[in-house]
Amino acid sequence: MRKDSETLALCDRFFDAIEQGDYETVEACYAPEAVVWHSHDCLYQPRADNLAMLKSGMKTHKKMEYADRRIRIFEGGFVQQHRLFVTRDNGFVGQMDVCFVAYVRDGRLSRVYEYFDTGQREKFLGPVA
């Protein structure tokens, strides 16, 4: 039986938690077997590595915002399109359009696919010194 409202709530909880620096909630959104695939290296990143990366980002960046969230629920998961804004230490606000496809099991993120364009690295990271 589809539980669209629960899947939608999971999606919002996850991205809101990153924005708010709430690492415990972020971690709780991941199933034990969670893996995260990224389009730049086409590799599945293990749960612990991805969480460590998120934790570091949440500590390091002044602000992270997932704007213009467009969410659609499907059987077994959801897709969210958003524009990620990251405010860096030097005040530069980087941005990147991302498509986040998530497969959900027992109310948690089990497999995630993230698509973005590294060709626009400078727009996200800022001018290279």
Binding site: R72, V79, D97, V101
Partner: protein, 135 residues
């Protein structure tokens, strides 16, 4: 549209792309379709998209849209796939792409395409012309 209708539309769209059937694509596009590519970051019309396809197809000897994973929602679909291309040089390249499609009355009304242009050099290969773009 039923889930089956949406899935069928999605597959017809990609089959037409693969077979270079611009005429079929024109039938599948709603008159007000908007096509957005993350690489360019702007909306384009169906007419603009279709007009550029013949030249785009010249870039590769063959393209196939493989490993299609389609998930359907109320008014559209998300498809994750691997685009395999054979350049005129014989070089074989691949791109990993995700498209979110919206549909209405059996036609596509919006396409949002996400790919990594950082992979274009590997897609084209060392000797291939620069003009090749993917979609």
């Amino acid at each position: 549209m039923t889930e089956g209708d949406v899935r069928d539309l999605c597959n017809r769209f990609f089959d037409a792309y693969e077979n270079r059937r611009v005429d079929v694509l024109a039938e599948l596009y709603a008159p007000d379709i908007v096509i957005w590519h993350n690489v360019f970051g702007r909306d384009t019309t169906g007419e603009e998209n279709l007009s550029k396809l013949p030249a785009s197809y010249l870039g590769q000897r063959r393209r196939t849209y493989n490993d299609r994973r389609i998930n359907v929602f109320e008014d559209g679909f998300v498809i994750q796939y691997q685009l395999n291309g054979v350049q005129h040089s014989g070089h074989k390249g691949a791109l990993w792409i995700c498209i979110v499609g919206r549909c209405r009355d059996g036609k596509l009304t919006r396409i949002d395409e996400y790919l990594d242009s950082g992979k274009f050099p590997a897609w084209r290969g060392p000797q291939a012309p620069v003009a090749a773009a993917a979609s």
